[in-house]
Symmetry: C2
Subunit: 145 residues, 2 copies
Amino acid sequence: MFSKACEYGIRAMIYIGQQSADFGRRVGLKDIAAEIDSPEAFTAKVLQGLVRQQLVTSVKGPTGGFELTPEQLRTVTLKQIVVAIDGPDILQGCALGLPQCSAKQPCPMHFQFLPIRDQLNELLRTHTIGELAGKVHDGLAFLKR
Amino acid sequence: MFSKACEYGIRAMIYIGQQSADFGRRVGLKDIAAEIDSPEAFTAKVLQGLVRQQLVTSVKGPTGGFELTPEQLRTVTLKQIVVAIDGPDILQGCALGLPQCSAKQPCPMHFQFLPIRDQLNELLRTHTIGELAGKVHDGLAFLKR
DNA sequence: CAAATACCGGACAAAAATGTCCGGTAATAA
DNA sequence: TTATTACCGGACATTTTTGTCCGGTATTTG
């Protein structure tokens, strides 16, 4: 479904979000990688990209690390993260890989897939990092194991 | 969503099915690759795997090629093809890549993703190659461009 | 200011996916 | 029987994804 990079990116963002929301605390790479069970250097690369797109904030030096501002917690959605890392293909590409697939020139699965993809779009569009972080805070969801 | 191998495999199967159903005609690799716009040698590899799993039938020599028996047309589903090529992960794996993700130990997206994945499962499980080939035959769907 | 910390960025490495080539084998047709 | 056809299988090549390493830079603390 999603690439490894995207899985790590989402998990990292939720963890950072949870720490920012609960304790107003920045978290370092080592901490993140340990908490979401991901390779540290690779996760760093993914987060660097998200920083460039301003979906998460980073601070260098001692006491530095990654954090989500209250606005980022409230406004950054799963969709933004997925598109930033994997591109828009999963949200709009043809299931059978046809370069041109539309209602006028559909692949054999087009009309069956459409509602499913629409729901996926809706799911990613309507869930913010802050909301998902809340579930982790409440012990209702987990980021590893 | 699906790998390239899987996209080619599904498209090839539908094309073979359409030719088998409409004309009782075997189709060769060159023909298939041209009709579904895929790399010939790579498509061969994918089909070889499907032959081994007996989802499609092949015959060597002159007048040889690939065909789908009436029974294969009626019984082979998209799900069988997808699982044969990409494995079962997309139908059961966690969206965030957690090795253990369940209702008891859910990832933050678990309960939102479940209905979408269930629908995908249902879609793949209930559509046969024969049915999809029929759409191509009727000019209601296409396999390239 | 100096030292330590932690992200940044680019180069590099390994693994997986994608794609190609070619000799071998089975089947058909003349 | 012999030549031809077309799939089979393995080796090989390329590209993409995944993952690592290390020096550079910005920031904080003493």
